[in-house]
Assembly symmetry: C2
Homo-oligomer: 470 residues x 2
């Protein structure tokens, strides 16, 4: 039975403006944005300060009440949606949205967890700096969620995952203690780097309330190339050339198949085929520099010239204006939407040792086609990081709800095959509820044991985001 006195105590402690308990007020906080997961909660807490987060957590722990931390709710694995316990308390960080400081000497920004990523990017830009984390949901996701899931995105090939952009973290542990790790130091070799555990912990160890982030120089000279390639193998060889020649300028290296482009050209508006011919696959690459565009263009011309001469691509289109640059990017960005327009489908966010991608793509496709004739892979992703969004649509003519029936079995096959290549079943989306079974089945038992023991250190009463990750 639910202890109704608890919600009352919580409200008394934090005030009715912070704690919502009426079913209508709680209802919008019970599911993920895609509507795949729907759970229960007795209350939603929306603190305005680290102290209020601490108060809420301390009360929850005392009463053994499960806590579901919530950022912008843009996750794809159900990590921020409550499970089935009616006792759940959702703690949303959305009201902690202050930028505490921006420093262009130290090149740091201290932001509260509820800050929208896009706002942080714009704030950095206004200060002539770059906060490089960039992903599709950037105008609704929150930086706290980005840290909790160690978000990736399109610029990882240059700037790394969220983890690599974080200098310090402030967090509240389940017992209400505040972890004061909000340091802006570039170097600090004093003991175990505890913040690394909180980053990527998906709300299972504590609640991140603020982060000290590393800013980069703005790299405003930009150019985009769309290269047609005959295979993922050729895309790899092209990558090797660009890596060596462009160095740190290479900030995106995206791959998609000809099938993906066909889908975009069918479903998206105002897009046009980039080449007269259809090609088996494409690479979209972006290079950017702090120096002038002339320098960049000269480099690009020379590198792409060499690539064509050495037979590392079939054809190439180089952006000559910002409009062209954005037009080329749209061919890549519209893939998800085009696949949605094509109908219900299965998404997989996997990574592989980059040199294994061609072999994986071949054996994965053979395995799936043997078992599910006509299944349609739409493969795209952050190729330079070895990260593929290996998405699958129903065979043409199959029941539009096919994915609901065969989906789990198909996904299990994908994840097994990924594991066979020593890949990761979650490159950048995390585990949440969606991949928990596969994670527990496929992860090394020693690592699972260590993770559970660490969970026990931070959260001995097990109240943090139960049913997610571990």
């Amino acid at each position: 039975m639910l202890d109704t006195a608890f919600a009352q105590r919580l409200t008394e402690a934090l005030g009715p403006e912070v704690v919502a308990t009426a079913p209508d007020d709680v209802a919008p906080w019970l599911s993920d944005w895609r509507g795949l997961y729907k759970g229960h909660a007795q209350a939603v807490v929306r603190p305005r300060s680290t102290e209020q987060v601490a108060q809420a957590l301390a009360l929850c722990q005392q009463a053994a009440v499960p806590v579901v931390p919530r950022g912008g709710n843009t996750g794809l694995c159900g990590g921020a949606a409550p499970g089935n316990s009616p006792a759940n308390v959702v703690i949303s960080l959305d009201r902690m949205d202050k930028i505490r400081s921006i420093d262009t000497i130290a090149n740091t920004m201290v932001a509260e967890a509820g800050c929208i990523l896009g706002n942080l990017r714009r704030a950095a830009e206004e200060n002539d700096r770059l906060f490089p984390l960039s992903l599709a949901a950037e105008d609704s996701c929150q930086i706290g969620g980005n840290l909790a899931t160690n978000a990736g995105g399109v610029n990882v090939v240059r700037y790394g995952m969220t983890r690599e952009l974080v200098l310090g973290v402030e967090a509240v542990l389940p017992n209400g203690e505040v972890f004061h790790g909000l340091r802006t130091l570039r170097k600090d070799n004093t003991g175990y780097d505890l913040k690394q555990l909180l980053i990527g912990s998906e709300g299972t160890l504590g609640i991140i309330t603020a982060a000290a982030l590393r800013l980069s120089p703005r790299a405003d000279s930009r150019a985009v190339v769309l290269a047609a390639v005959e295979s993922s193998k050729q895309a790899l060889q092209l990558y090797s050339l660009l890596f060596a020649r462009c160095g740190a300028r290479l900030q995106a290296y995206e791959f998609f198949t000809g099938d993906c482009l066909d889908l975009v050209l069918t479903h998206a508006e105002n897009v046009q085929a980039p080449f007269a011919e259809r090609h088996p696959a494409y690479v979209l690459l972006e290079i950017a520099d702090t120096a002038s565009e002339d320098v960049l263009n000269a480099l690009l011309e020379s590198v792409i010239g060499d690539a064509l001469e050495q037979g590392l691509c079939l054809d190439a289109a180089v952006s000559a204006s910002l409009a062209q640059l954005q037009g080329l990017w749209r061919l890549r960005e519209e893939i998800s939407e085009a696949q949605r327009a094509d109908g219900l489908h299965l998404k997989h966010d996997v990574s592989l040792p980059i040199e294994s991608i061609p072999a994986f793509m071949a054996s994965m496709e053979a395995r799936l086609l043997a078992r599910y004739p006509g299944i349609r892979p739409f493969i795209f992703g952050h190729f330079g990081d070895g990260n593929l969004h290996y998405n699958l649509s129903r065979p043409l003519g199959a029941d539009p709800k096919w994915a609901l029936g065969d989906g789990k079995a198909v996904s299990d096959e994908v994840m097994e095959e990924v594991a066979r290549y020593n890949g990761s079943i979650s490159a950048e989306h995390g585990i949440g509820q969606l991949k928990r079974d596969a994670f527990l089945a496929l992860k090394d038992p020693l690592e699972l044991r260590l993770m559970r023991a660490i969970k026990q250190v931070f959260d001995p009463s097990g109240i943090m985001n139960p049913g997610k990750l571990l």
Copy 2:
């Protein structure tokens, strides 16, 4: 009493070629290279494989025998020197020195812990890649030790600490279990990032036996500038300009005072004053690029021109040849040796929020001079990372052994002042034995409690490197 049967069991299990127990054979392994720490050990184990490391650790844990992991023994904090227990077993990784793979498509190198850092750098270069970790001891330190201490060095401002160069780790836990984390994936969001605990743990959690390292493009176009500045404040402003204009090309930003240069000009051979005038301080900066030298030189000319025009430096010398580049670097690199020639002194490896450096330098010097009139600070370091080697020499005319007497009290003052500015008492050297007391006194009690609990998870019997760090 020492259980002498243990050394015998160890020898029987691993063979006399791997286990040394004769006092003469053990003696060379009992102290750090500077001779500041000298301890005891009943045996030295030099395994040839991960399996042998596992066997040795399992036997040690069963017998509750303390283990001291050892790399190249170049550390400055006594982390690899055994303590006073006669039961200690030193496990040296020096024989595990194979490069298991180098991959120029994936841009990864898998190296065993005993590989000499300089050899890894050369192997990468032979494969047209860069392994960017670079530090004074690179031709004797081992990569396992670099990971265990999260080593820094001169290129951190561009490439980050060792932690940021590591994709995966293989390690043996104290009970002999092997942690198979040798992944080369760029992205892997499947649970807590456990390798981050092993990196920087100073041998207190387990023994790293191999690492998957990230390679960078070679950036062979290089230029060095020595800029004279009137103060550390001006050095900061100059840094801000260079950061914004040079972007990722900026790979070293070193600072030293006029006093440091005087010392070098007095004690080092074949060096010459870089400017006609003496200046209060200097910045040595290096920029490097994959593109041609022309591009680099044009950029540099423009940036340094602007710096002079905007009054961000007093004078500047730009290298026009490799010989000049090396000559400028020597002015910075010879500081340690010159200070040694000047006599016994105190070293401090600290870091500060970079914008606080001028205030710290002012208050620190006032505090020290008030208490120790005539004390001579020689301040240099990796300024772009906020990392100062805040070294102190005796007042002129004082007893040459002054550092032995007042040293501890002086160092305590330095570390207290650093803590007052939210700096770190160990930027890149770690804690080891040298800074353990200060670490335990100054670190946040919550962080210490979490670290001890994590230590308990990995090393419940407490055999790993006792007396170091925690």
